[in-house]
């Protein structure tokens, strides 16, 4: 009897696991159908070094398949443009170019969002172990960096949302610092 329950549980567990995998595919498919996105963001950084969080805000623009632009307007203007493997940072009159493959520690901060928006499961799983929970109406993705070099800085990324909208992106760093980004549909034109 116990064994039957046990087997039943296992079957049930397997079914949920399969369901989760199916849900992840379905979610990513849903997200991948959006080729363009433009949202406002507010980001709070909680750092041990600081007695209160630093808050920044701006816009996030996504264009399929691999362009992600983060325009920070407050507290000081900065432009991050991710295209392919290249991250360009413009601040003041200066422009830096970072090669993601040479600077993998930056990956969790940008690739997590881009690959999710693109619905690119392969890209997502190249960098992270992905766990889906919830349902399509209210879902959460837990991303854990695979490579030790990345995991040394970032322990996990949590993304939640509903349907094809992202709500929050939380990046937890190994040293306990974390940032929480809240996304809202772009209010402007």
């Amino acid at each position: 009897m116990r064994r039957t329950i046990g087997i039943g549980l296992l079957v049930l567990l397997g079914a949920t696991a399969r369901a989760a995998a199916d849900d992840l595919d379905e979610l990513l498919h849903l997200l991948g159908e959006r080729h363009h996105g433009h949202v406002d963001f507010v980001e709070q950084h909680f750092l041990a070094l600081l007695s209160r969080p630093v808050e920044s805000s701006g816009e996030l623009i996504y264009d399929a398949p691999d362009r992600l632009e983060k325009r920070t307007l407050e507290p000081r203007p900065e432009n991050l443009m991710l295209a392919g493997d290249v991250l360009s940072i413009r601040r003041g009159g200066h422009r830096h170019v970072l090669d993601l493959k040479a600077n993998p520690q930056v990956l969790p901060f940008v690739e997590s969002i881009r690959a999710t928006l693109a619905g690119d499961r392969a890209a997502l799983e190249r960098t992270f172990r992905v766990e889906f929970s919830g349902n399509l109406a209210r879902w959460t993705l837990l991303l854990v960096p695979r490579e030790s070099q990345i995991a040394a800085t970032v322990s996990q990324v949590l993304i939640d949302g509903s349907g094809n909208h992202l709500r929050h992106v939380e990046i937890r760093q190994r040293d306990g610092d974390r940032s929480l980004m809240t996304l809202r549909d772009h209010s402007g034109p």
Binding site: L47, S51, R52, H96, V97
Partner: protein, 806 residues
């Protein structure tokens, strides 16, 4: 007789032996020294030093193409590892973060001496507050987060400031930690040779080392990944060009020399029908070539490859002498039956023609352009030797039983063709000649603005496609493509670094105004001691800094006590020493610094290459830059525009060459006037030559060819070769029909050999040789035709054919 023969031959052999010793000991160069003026202005000196020894001249660009990017990256790493062990190279960069850690550590340790924001105000309470607020705001960006751990030691963000300063210097695109081209199709490496760019031998060794490293590296990689065999390497840069140019010129010179020698030998064999005569006939040529090189070696200390290339030209000239000798003297005609009749009757004509050529080439000797002066010395030495051997040695060596074809029948047939022209009246002939000259002059006048090519690159043996490829690699590597350079000269390193800093302040506004895109400066790597000292003096004593910091952090998200490491670092910087050039040695920054500092004898030069505002519009508004530099005060800053300066140098050579050629022409006129005694005869001799030169120049111009300095040399050669024709035609007043026919035949054979020699040259891919061939081959032919046509008619009764037709 035998004693005389022995003496002559002994003297000749001695001369050859001496010349051989000189030739064997000579240094052969192919660098740009041929273009270095003998007495340069300081600007020209700087220009040529830049081209010869400047950092740009030592750079070899390496591109790996084809195959997979990751395989290319592996080969790049393996190559760099090998080459870094090679003493031929002072630096190998491929974007690998080999020294990045060391560099970062160095920059961070010296941040209070390197950061441009360091002033006393920076450490006041207000200054600290502003800087720390900025740093806290920066923590919101991924870049700020990367520097998060540095905040307790560097709360004012000097490290970020230094990174910004350094990012002014363009960096190539990096993929997988390796430099790649903008399109990602090429993996790039940059090698800097230890030897100067002008040391072509060393550059060739360096190129070989790179090729070996590539073969070994791709072999290594191929063991694991067979596809790596697909990867190909392409090299570019001044060293590659110099080595290729030398090889091209040498190969072309050798190949064409062999080809024209074979063809001319075949021609002469057909003409002489005597292998012995053929071999004897080449003696003046060989002696002339040897004497020419020896003359240059003795006069200039080194022979330029370019000069050697002209060895061919001497074949065309000096072989004529022996052709005249054999065809005109070996045949026992009634009038020349007596021994030594050639020496008596024809040698004076050949000698006068030779002297006219020597006059022409002597005009090149005073040229400030050593390439041209060498050519003059080479030709004079060669012609004198070839003529002397023809006159004195050949008659002694010629066996009595030698049988050479009598070419008189050919001459008679040729006369038959020329006669209809000669039947025209003198007035008609000269009328036609003047008309042709007028048309040619008109064409030249109409094209006067575009007649001459004013770019030094017109002489470059490097194909345009290679030059474009080089420019592409340079733009991929973020190297300045615009060849504009601000040069600050001074007596010591400190003074030029101070000058560079002042120039940088003057240039800074031009970046915002989009006049320039940016600039590199040695002071970005190593500020002057004065600047470093001023920055160190800005650092307050510990108690004051602690007090200011407490005030600054009041109300901020960061607490003063967290910044204790900052107080320690500032204190140690305050007590620490200044950065010296030796301190840079341990980092990769040294290579960047060395590339921008040129030390010669007692002069130091700081170089600030300017980047164009837009890659699409590489031209920089130089007036604005000069104006800005003038505003910076007397720091000895000059804007050196490499392309225009080198073109200006070339134009000055061209103008000088035109002047000298005209002087040479004048001296030929005087010589002929004196030798022929009447101006009318001199004019008759010169007219066909001038006509040929005008026609060739006009035709080249009509064909869209812009004339270069080598075309000018070619025109000089037309006059040199053609003067013999005109003189022979001028002389035969006392000749009979038979002799006249023999003269015409021998001149035609000589002409044919010249046309073969130079005609082959015009197929060369080396522009300098091609220009020469295209000028001389048609020019010599025209000179002969015009000289034959304009020959004065002999008095009636001496020409049977003329009588018959009358």
């Amino acid at each position: 007789m035998n004693a005389r023969r022995a003496r002559v031959i002994a003297a000749w052999l001695t001369c050859i032996a001496l010349a051989a010793v000189v030739v064997g000991r000579t240094r052969y160069v192919t660098d740009l020294s041929a273009f270095l003026p003998a007495k340069p202005t300081p600007m020209q000196r700087l220009l040529v030093d830049q081209l010869r020894e400047g950092p740009a001249s030592r750079v070899i660009l390496i591109a790996l193409e084809r195959g997979d990017a990751t395989i290319r990256a592996r080969i790049s790493v393996a190559m760099a590892r090998r080459l870094r062990l090679d003493r031929e190279f002072s630096g190998i960069e491929n974007g690998e973060p080999v020294s990045a850690e060391l560099d970062r550590e160095f920059l961070f340790r010296h941040r209070y001496l390197l950061s441009e924001t360091i002033t006393p105000q920076r450490f006041s309470a207000a200054g600290l507050k502003g800087a720390i607020e900025e740093t806290i705001a920066g923590l919101a960006s991924p870049e700020g987060l990367m520097l998060k751990s540095l905040v307790p030691r560097d709360p004012t963000g000097e490290m970020l400031q230094i990174i910004d300063q350094m990012s002014r210097i363009a960096q190539p695109l990096t993929r997988d930690g390796h430099w790649v081209s903008a399109d990602g199709e090429r993996t790039l490496l940059v090698a800097q040779t230890a030897a100067a760019g002008s040391d072509t031998d060393a550059q060739e060794l360096a190129l070989d080392a790179i090729r070996r490293a590539f073969t070994a590296a791709s072999g290594e990689t191929a063991a694991a990944v067979p596809e790596s065999r697909q990867v190909q390497m392409h090299l570019s840069g001044p060293a590659v060009f110099a080595v290729a140019a030398r090889a091209t010129i040498q190969h072309a010179a050798v190949r064409l020399s062999i080809a024209s020698s074979v063809l001319i030998a075949a021609l002469l064999l057909v003409v002489y029908r005597s292998p012995r005569a053929l071999i004897l006939g080449l003696l003046p040529v060989a002696t002339g070539a040897m004497a020419g090189i020896a003359a240059v070696a003795l006069g200039f200390g080194a022979v330029h490859g370019l000069t050697l290339g002209f060895g061919i030209t001497l074949i065309g000239e000096s072989v004529d002498y022996s052709i005249y000798f054999f065809t005109q003297s070996a045949v026992r005609t009634p009038s020349s039956a007596a021994p030594h009749s050639w020496q008596r009757q024809r040698w004076p004509i050949v000698r006068l023609g030779m002297l006219a050529s020597v006059c022409g080439f002597a005009s090149l000797l005073p040229s400030a352009f050593p390439g041209l002066a060498q050519l003059g010395a080479y030709s004079i030495g060669g012609l004198l030797a070839a003529a002397a051997v023809t006159r004195f040695v050949l008659p002694e060596l010629m066996p009595c039983d030698i049988a050479i074809r009598d070419v008189t029948p050919w001459g008679l047939r040729l006369e038959h063709w020329v006669n209809p022209v000669r039947r025209l009246s003198v007035a008609a002939l000269w009328g036609i000649a003047l008309a042709i000259a007028g048309i040619a002059a008109l064409v030249l006048y109409q094209q006067r603005d575009t007649l001459w090519n004013r770019e030094l690159s017109s002489l470059s043996p490097i194909p345009l496609s290679e030059q474009r490829y080089d420019a592409k690699l340079r733009s991929d590597l973020g190297q300045p493509t615009a060849l504009d350079l601000v040069v600050i000269s001074g007596p010591d390193l400190e003074s030029v670094l101070r000058g560079a800093e002042r120039a940088a302040r003057a240039l800074e506004p031009l970046i915002d105004e989009k006049v320039i895109g940016g600039f590199d400066s040695p002071a970005s790597y190593l500020p002057s001691l004065a600047t470093q000292e001023a920055r160190r003096d800005s650092l307050p004593e510990r108690p004051i800094l602690r007090e200011n910091l407490a005030q600054a952090t009041a109300g901020l998200a960061i607490r003063g006590e967290q910044l204790a490491p900052f107080l320690d670092d500032v204190e140690s910087a305050r007590r620490g020493g200044l950065i010296t050039p030796q301190d840079l040695r341990s980092t990769s920054l040294a290579a960047g610094f060395d590339a921008l500092i040129l030390h010669q004898r007692d002069r130091w030069n700081a170089l600030l290459p300017l980047h164009a505002a837009e890659a699409a519009a590489p031209d920089i508004d130089r007036a604005r830059v000069r104006q800005a530099l003038a505003g910076a005060g007397s720091i000895g800053a000059q804007l050196l525009d490499l392309k225009n300066e080198s073109d200006a140098l070339y134009i000055s050579y061209l103008h000088e060459a035109i002047r000298l050629s005209l002087a040479g022409l004048a001296s030929i006129v005087v010589l002929l006037w004196v030798a022929l005694r009447t101006p009318a005869r001199a004019a008759r001799v010169l007219a066909p030559l001038m006509l040929a030169v005008l026609c060739v120049a006009a035709s080249l111009s009509l064909c869209g060819r812009q004339l270069t300095i080598l075309h000018l040399v070619g025109m000089l050669l037309i006059v040199a070769v053609g003067s013999n024709y005109a003189l022979f035609f001028d002389a035969p007043r006392r000749e009979n029909d038979h002799d006249a026919a023999l003269t015409l035949a021998s001149l035609s054979i000589a002409n044919l050999s010249t046309v073969i020699g130079f005609g082959l040259l015009s197929f060369s891919r080396v522009p300098v040789l091609e220009d020469l061939g295209m000028t001389v081959a048609p020019g010599a032919l025209l000179a002969l035709l015009f000289a034959a046509a304009l020959t004065p008619r002999r008095p009636a009764g001496t020409s049977r054919r003329a009588q018959n037709s009358d």
